[in-house]
Symmetry: C2
Subunit: 457 residues, 2 copies
Amino acid sequence: MSVITDLIEALGADAVLTGAAIGERYRSDASTTGRTLPLAVLRPASTQQVSLALQICDRYRQPVVPQGGRTGLAGGANADDGAIALSLERLTGIEEIDVAAGTMTVLAGTPLEVAQRAAEEMGLLLPIDLGARGSCQIGGNLSTNAGGIRVIRHGMTRDNVLGLEAVLADGTVLSSLNKMMKNNTGYDLRQLFIGAEGTLGIITRAVLRLRPLPAARLTALCAVETYGAVVALLKSAQRDLPGLSAFEAMWDSYFRFNTEALALSLFENPPPFAVIIEVDSSGSGEDRERFETFLGTALEDGTIQDALVAQSEKEARIFWSVREGHAMDQRLPGLVNLDISLPIGQLGDFADDCSAALLQHFPNAHVSFFGHVGDSNLHVAVWKDGIDAHDLHAIDTIAYGLVRQFKGSISAEHGIGTLKRDFLDHSRSEAEIAVMRRIKQALDPNGILNPGKVLPA
Amino acid sequence: MSVITDLIEALGADAVLTGAAIGERYRSDASTTGRTLPLAVLRPASTQQVSLALQICDRYRQPVVPQGGRTGLAGGANADDGAIALSLERLTGIEEIDVAAGTMTVLAGTPLEVAQRAAEEMGLLLPIDLGARGSCQIGGNLSTNAGGIRVIRHGMTRDNVLGLEAVLADGTVLSSLNKMMKNNTGYDLRQLFIGAEGTLGIITRAVLRLRPLPAARLTALCAVETYGAVVALLKSAQRDLPGLSAFEAMWDSYFRFNTEALALSLFENPPPFAVIIEVDSSGSGEDRERFETFLGTALEDGTIQDALVAQSEKEARIFWSVREGHAMDQRLPGLVNLDISLPIGQLGDFADDCSAALLQHFPNAHVSFFGHVGDSNLHVAVWKDGIDAHDLHAIDTIAYGLVRQFKGSISAEHGIGTLKRDFLDHSRSEAEIAVMRRIKQALDPNGILNPGKVLPA
């Protein structure tokens, strides 16, 4: 008997893909760094099947790599080196929306956008949101503690998970499908699996927190002179705009590149910083008045130099298209996008230092910055002609070296996977990494779950 | 050499109280269930001293019970059976307030109210708040994942902790003094110590998230006919009042008892449910108008039958004095206050069933309900004449038995300690409790940290 025959016997042949039946899509996450196809792809259709599969793999000491929508950017879902991939793609569906409790119970393989729409149909908002919403899955969102664009209002994915079901390496099903906001009954085991990138257990089901669906959103694009003024604007927006749901800054080179690429002329002169402010609104005229008063005050006191208020959803989408920067991705093939975080007050200095250090090493590179400043999250976009693996390593080394100096985080929202693994000690101490290993050992003593991810060898 | 002499040698005599030097206050938390004084009381003045103390205790397999302000209600801080108490009372002070980042770095022994005031002096809000603010300490707030009255707006204590320093049983100092909102670099070790009641490590320092300080608050007391209408009111308040910062319901017998005890006549007839709604406000007339419009609509559509809007802070305090119910505590000595949570839609049915079951067993008891309905949190106040340990056990058995049927939590915010330990399996599965033990074993293999708390023997 081999692990594969045991798996086929336990799960049925339709749940175990091998050989030519394994599609190319199972090779890699969106980092496109997966080297080989998995040994097999398991497609369990129930928590019980996930449990059976892991019991068998644990017995054979067979490495298992959980796969959601494979939209991650850190290599976390790649099943190299003879690993079996366990795809959640058949474990899909919304099981319940409890309007009074404000919760959704959902299976892990459900695409994020499907879950978002189901909430909207009940007049509720699932606040987890990110660009990959069409293909990423709830289980992957939780396993990577996804961030995205609504964190400033509703928190990270972690903050929106009330209950969780996960299967341990030995097949134990841990079911904590809690619907309550408050529950202090012993250790909060949910937290172990959220953001662990599938190394401690496989998430199969979750209870997510829903919020009221905003009737409308108000969006403005502001021109700001200094990073200090960006922070001042953030602080006053947090104080005076209780529905603040996005605060995104673009440094000048990022803003200029993307507006030019889209042939947009938004300000007379491209400002040093362009900031998108968005607030949830009831759709009333009073909300718009409050928003415009806020911007008027910021203009008067010199915090901002100019402001464009979107007069329609279409205009708001134009502002967001600059921020999303797809034009940059298209025009600069191989663009590197680093995802880091730093205390909010230090993002400006970091960007200056990081830009100088990268341009010193790569004088002809294009370096630009943008990010969820309200969440302390900065993205660094770096491009040079004919970039190779050696250059990539140099960029990481320069940028993460500075992150270490600034006591920041080498991963704000993308996770560690394999691609940031060797830099983990830039943000976490030796003692912390040792405790992570103790936890790993306690929950997965045979080390079968997503081996080689997150923790350095 | 004994453990005490080793501790005196390492920490100095002033940091080790023994014999007659141990004051009565070290006997028990606010549950007053501590049976004996600790063998010794350690009063380390630095993280390094906490580390030294734990190294020595671990070597001697000496049980250590961390003590903060001892305001807990579950027996978690009692140092019975020859345990040594480790008090954080000398590890006190605000180390930094970073206005741009919106963070406070604070030592664990700092009283909550001291930390709140320090934030206010910088124009910021530390949103953790509870009745014991004057004597409870930050470390204890974190170790019990304190709830309180602002959870609906700013989340539990867990949601307001960005960074943490904790000492493991073997003396390892884990320092993760992160100031960022987003940080996905490996396992989120903070979460292990928050709410673990000192059984996995001793918290010594924390980075807490601060929010803008509201300029004012608007408060109303509403009369509501049915529990269904209470939920409808909550949902519309969450949708239409973005600054909603409290939503507290009192069932009729609780409201009647406390208004009578305070000689207040707030409504012509005591309603089936009285609800306090509070929103953070900029102090502008528009905010008040929006609030009154909201209440007017709720009156018109029949969600509420009456509403009193506080015209001053003094009037708001009167509404809150009814909710806090100190009059009930005074008039009904030995009052039992259970702290549970259930999905929001089920609190009404639970209260009906729980009341009936308790009154069947204790026909002359006074049973009443109140709670943070917006957080799914219900308190059950039970009193009978000459209550004894046998009665207490019967009350627990009846109420927690119903909680189990409703798939609720036997502890919303108070924690487990010793007093709820034997009921833990009413809210957590055997598999969950087994994983908690694995975690405990991984971090504290000799079992010296707060033994006998949280996990059943």
